[in-house]
């Protein structure tokens, strides 16, 4: 328990970014090694056979199975659209009519007069894998995909939703503690990745969706809003497959959270540059955090990794409280008593003393703070 702190999120200004881009099943790779790609370019594609949908037409019409063909408006092989009437039956001299509507878009695969069923096959599902970020193809994985590389800035959020997308970075707020409200969004943000401040709420998300914003990077979000946005209560933090219309990367946490200045400055410094965002998060063994990639050089050069020094907490270290009652507040360590202390909850743990900018001080469990890199 003594040394528990959240693994730091990566926020680097220049690094080598390498990503494997794979198809879910075997297909065709459409690029060659060495090619320079843009984020939305397709690198590999394949097709999944369409699903089939059985329709119990005879019983829906209330007719005998063997008579089904008489009532059909479509033949085998015909294309049908969703909700299109494909069979109809009249009874009582046309007084009562019953219809069978196509449940999906597709083609009529078969009409069975034995079972009274129709089979409708949906169109094959094309599967394409994009380059995801501007970069160079460095390796081909035959029939499966490629390896993409670029050099640029890379940062991780703590939580995100929505899949991969890319666009130009745009700043919608002036300061990291400003909320991203609907009035700060305008037409110029369409198709871009918008950087917000401390929080975004549902009206602003809706506005962003309307405008066609590709992604939003913001300090915090309320869980109630997230539930509304997703349409369900998120249980396990495994995300990335949602189709929301935009991707969302939260850099700090839930609630109103001022975006770390390092993150804000890094993003702000690249306004106008093309970036790629992936909201996919997985907080588990093999942790995956949402990310923002800002390629600065598509031609690969040698990069010396900046080694973030792993340093422990010392007196004077700037920290952020990450649990109620001081949640989200920034401060400075003033003492690190070695002995265990009893908290209000009566738990006995290792603590530290912290002074907040307004001069007040507090005693916090060491597990409830995270260090802020300056």
């Amino acid at each position: 328990m003594a040394h528990a702190y959240t693994p730091g999120l990566r926020v680097t200004t220049r690094t080598r970014i390498v990503k494997e881009r794979r198809l879910p099943l075997k297909g065709e790779v459409v690029v060659k090694a060495g090619e320079v790609m843009r984020a939305e370019d397709v690198v590999a594609r394949t097709e999944l056979p369409g699903n089939v949908q059985p329709v119990k037409a005879a019983s829906m019409l209330g007719i005998h199975q063997e008579d089904l063909e008489e009532y059909m408006l479509k033949k085998v092989g015909d294309h049908v659209a969703k909700d299109e009437v494909i069979a109809t039956a009249k009874s009582f001299f046309g007084l009562f009519k019953s219809h069978v509507k196509a449940p999906v878009d597709g083609t009529v695969e078969s009409i069975s007069t034995v079972t009274g069923q129709l089979i409708i096959r949906e169109a094959p599902i094309p599967v394409e894998v994009h380059a995801y970020f501007d970069g160079t193809v460095t390796e081909i994985i035959p029939e499966e995909g490629v390896v993409m590389e670029a050099v640029g800035a890379f940062l991780q959020g703590i939580f995100g939703v929505g899949g991969e997308t890319s666009g130009e970075l745009a700043l919608a707020v002036q300061k990291p503690d400003e909320e991203l409200t609907p009035d700060k969004l305008n037409e110029s943000h369409a198709g871009k990745i918008v950087i917000g401040g401390s929080r975004i709420q549902l009206p602003a998300i809706d506005r962003a969706k309307q405008l066609g914003v590709r992604a939003v990077v913001v300090g915090g979000i309320d869980d109630a809003d997230l539930k509304q946005l997703l349409g369900y209560d998120l249980g396990v933090a495994i995300t990335g497959h949602e189709t929301l219309g935009l991707s969302l990367v939260v850099t700090e946490g839930f609630g109103r959270m001022t975006m770390a200045s390092r993150t804000f400055d890094l993003l702000g410094g690249h306004v106008g540059r093309r970036a790629s965002v992936n909201g996919a998060t997985q907080i588990r063994a093999g942790v995956m955090r949402p990310e923002v990639i800002i390629p600065t050089e598509t031609h690969l050069t040698d990069v010396r990794e900046e080694e973030g020094e792993v340093q422990g907490l010392t007196i004077g270290s700037p920290i952020r409280a990450i649990r109620t009652p001081y949640f989200g507040r920034l401060g400075e360590v003033t003492a690190l008593p070695p002995e265990l202390q009893k908290l209000e909850s009566e738990a006995t743990v290792r603590v530290l003393e912290v002074r907040f900018p307004d001069g007040s001080t507090a005693v916090l469990p060491r597990a409830n703070v995270e260090m802020i890199e300056t």
């Binding site: 328990m1 040394h3 528990a4 702190y5 959240t6 879910p24 099943l25 703590i158 939580f159 309320d222 869980d223 109630a224 997230l226 539930k227 369900y232 209560d233 998120l234 249980g235 396990v236 933090a237 946490g253 839930f254 609630g255 907080i283 588990r284 063994a285 093999g286 990450i322 649990r323 109620t324 009652p325 949640f327 908290l343 209000e344 909850s345 009566e346 738990a347 006995t348 743990v349 916090l364 469990p365 597990a367 409830n368 995270e370």
Partner: protein
């Protein structure tokens, strides 16, 4: 289980996903006792990537605390030589996400379920059950297997002399999927075949070359009987040989584990942590002839173990836990279910944010009392849901012929009823941070009572310092040493709960009790809807006579009295007359808060001044 030579001292470690815990056990006089324990962060992942570093750190802490030399450089000194070294070194591991398996069976609710039980009992997480009748098309099954990338596959199906085609078909699907293991692609995926023995040649033909296939006895030789042990042992063996061997540092660790016998040093396997916990619970149930439920609530998962009618069952609820999965507890249980345990009002949106923040920052701990109460409320729901899931899997076998008499005409029960019988439960053991580290032990008592709703007379205990895994692996080597320490040092006896079944009228006397406490006989009358706590220290017992009133039942029949011996603990005796089947909490907030506060005060669960002030 060879007793072997008398072991003088034992060192055991458990490599968890965050911490590695070491304990030192010594023989003192006739019995074995825990001497010290130490812990250090686990070092499986970057930057260290060698599990033994964490193990050595933990052992060094033990060395310091025990004042005894155990290490010679980077080596454990074995066997014991004077005061240096130990006679046995054993280890368990759940690092790297534990053992993740996929199992197959012909019929999902029959051999599929048997396979699931075999894998769970061996300490695995079952990612999916592929069965002939799971309504997925072959290509869907193939894709699923590819996506999952399990550590190991247990292929079963058919009774001996039963179907061959189905199980061969399953083998073909696995062969077509050609799965690669999750850790390291340099070795073939281990597949255990434990199905119809007649189909072995066909299975070998299809999977022999592509996977590292191991054949063992059928887990369901006839419909009426399961034979899970051979498959479980095979799973352990392969876990060692293939899965663990791939994890960084484990090869070295495996070379260390072993114990001294008459014929010299014998190496011992590293067990998956949950399998070891299951092992110690089974051992205890067998030795004392009791029915036991054990629960281990972790950050991401909650394991429930039970032994009823000599049948051992284990389930793992992969998405119920107190940190990574905390938000899922809320989603599955629903906010009202969590809030029913909270004795104050709270803004929903605020609570949601707090829970989600705990999810994304799983290592934080509750500082304020309010936070603690919320966390313990969530834990009740996590435990309750995990127990529900356990009840659903700990069932009798399906597909077995039933015998009927004419009196069954209108009550034809289905097969596969749950084995869990709360009235027959003797001992409930809790483990995991929220239970073991609750600031007041009585909080663990109430959490367990609320979540499991034990009926009749039930002893409660918690695992003080997560020692069950180490004792489980020790039980494989020396059963007596394991049970000695388990009884004396591992368990913290919380006391005994007495809860009559049924519903009474609020405020009317529900239970009359005469208890021969060491301080003298005490007569108590407990009104329905309330709880009473009586002190009875650890190691003490008391004879008691209970007279449940009205239709209430303590197991001897409605309104019938019961004589029994109660076992003491740090909490004492809890007379819980809040009702069972149904157990009800008022739904309107004012009476709920009043009731919860009343119970909390009766048991002194939370400091009084805060419990109300923080509202």
């Amino acid at each position: 289980m060879s007793e072997g030579k008398e072991l003088r001292s034992i060192l055991a470690t458990d490599c968890g996903s965050t911490t590695t815990k070491a304990i030192l056990i010594e023989k003192q006089g006739d019995s074995y006792r825990l001497v010290v324990r130490g812990e250090a962060p686990t070092t499986v992942e970057a930057p260290f990537e060698d599990v033994t570093k964490g193990v050595l750190n933990a052992i060094m802490e033990v060395e310091e605390l025990a004042g005894r030399k155990l290490l010679d450089g980077d080596k454990i000194i074995v066997p014991q030589n004077g005061t240096e070294g130990v006679d046995a070194y054993l280890s368990t591991s759940s690092a790297g996400g534990g053992l993740q398996m996929m199992v197959t069976g012909v019929v999902k609710s029959m051999t599929g379920e048997s396979a699931e039980r075999a894998a769970l009992g061996a300490g695995a997480i079952v990612m999916d059950i592929v069965a002939s009748n799971d309504r997925r098309l072959p290509h869907e099954k193939i894709r699923r297997i590819r996506d999952l990338r399990p550590d190991m596959i247990l292929l079963s199906g058919g009774i001996d002399g039963g179907t061959k085609t189905h199980v061969v078909e399953l083998a073909e699907i696995i062969a077509a999927a050609d799965p690669r293991p999750r850790l390291g692609s340099s070795y073939d995926l281990p597949v255990i075949y434990a199905g119809n023995q007649d189909a072995i040649p066909e299975i070998e033909e299809r999977l022999g070359g592509k996977t590292s296939l191991e054949v063992t006895e059928n887990i369901r030789p006839v419909m009426e009987r399961e034979n899970l042990m051979p498959a479980r042992h095979k799973i352990h063996d392969l876990f060692m040989e293939h899965v663990m061997a791939q994890a960084p540092g484990y090869k070295k660790l495996m070379s260390w584990t072993g114990y001294q016998t008459n014929s010299g040093w014998t190496s011992a396997p590293i067990m998956p942590t949950p399998a070891a916990v299951g092992n110690i619970i089974q051992t205890i149930a067998k030795q004392e002839g009791i029915q036991v439920v054990g629960v281990d609530i972790g950050g991401a998962t909650t394991d429930v173990f039970s032994v009823f009618q000599d049948v051992f069952n284990r389930t793992v609820s992969a998405n119920l836990g107190m940190s990574y999965s905390v938000s899922n507890v809320l989603a599955e249980a629903g906010l009202p279910n969590v809030m029913r345990w909270v004795p104050f009002d709270m803004d929903e949106s605020e609570l949601r944010n707090r829970i989600k923040n705990k999810m994304i920052r799983p290592t934080t701990i509750p500082q304020s009392l309010e936070e603690l109460i919320i966390e313990q409320a969530i834990s009740r729901e996590a435990l309750r849901l995990a127990f529900e899931q356990h009840k659903a899997l700990a069932v009798g076998l399906k597909g077995v012929q039933q015998e009927r008499t004419i009196s069954d005409t209108f009550e034809q029960s289905s097969s596969g009823e749950t084995l869990i019988d709360l009235l027959g439960l003797d001992l409930l053991v809790g483990s995991g941070g929220v239970l073991s580290h609750a600031p007041r032990r009585i909080q663990s008592v109430l959490m367990m009572l609320d979540a499991f709703l034990p009926e009749g007379v039930t002893q409660l205990a918690v695992d003080s310092i997560f020692m069950m895994p180490q004792l489980g692996v020790l039980a494989e080597v020396n059963e007596r040493a394991a049970t000695d320490v388990f009884v004396a040092d591992c368990l913290i006896r919380l006391g005994t709960a007495v809860a009559p079944i049924g519903k009474g009228k609020e405020g009317q006397t529900a239970l009359k009790a005469t208890i021969q406490l060491p301080s003298g006989a005490q007569h108590v009358e407990v009104p329905f809807g309330s709880m009473v706590r009586l002190p009875l220290a650890v190691g003490e017992t008391a004879n008691a006579t209970f007279e449940p009133q009205g239709k209430l039942d303590l197991g001897s029949g409605p309104g019938k009295s019961l004589q029994t011996e109660l076992v003491g603990g740090v909490g004492g005796i809890f007379l819980d007359c809040r009702g069972r089947r149904p157990f009800e909490i008022p739904t309107d907030p004012a009476s709920r808060i009043r009731k919860l506060t009343e119970w909390s005060d009766a048991l002194e669960v939370y400091p009084k001044e805060h419990a109300t002030a923080s509202a």
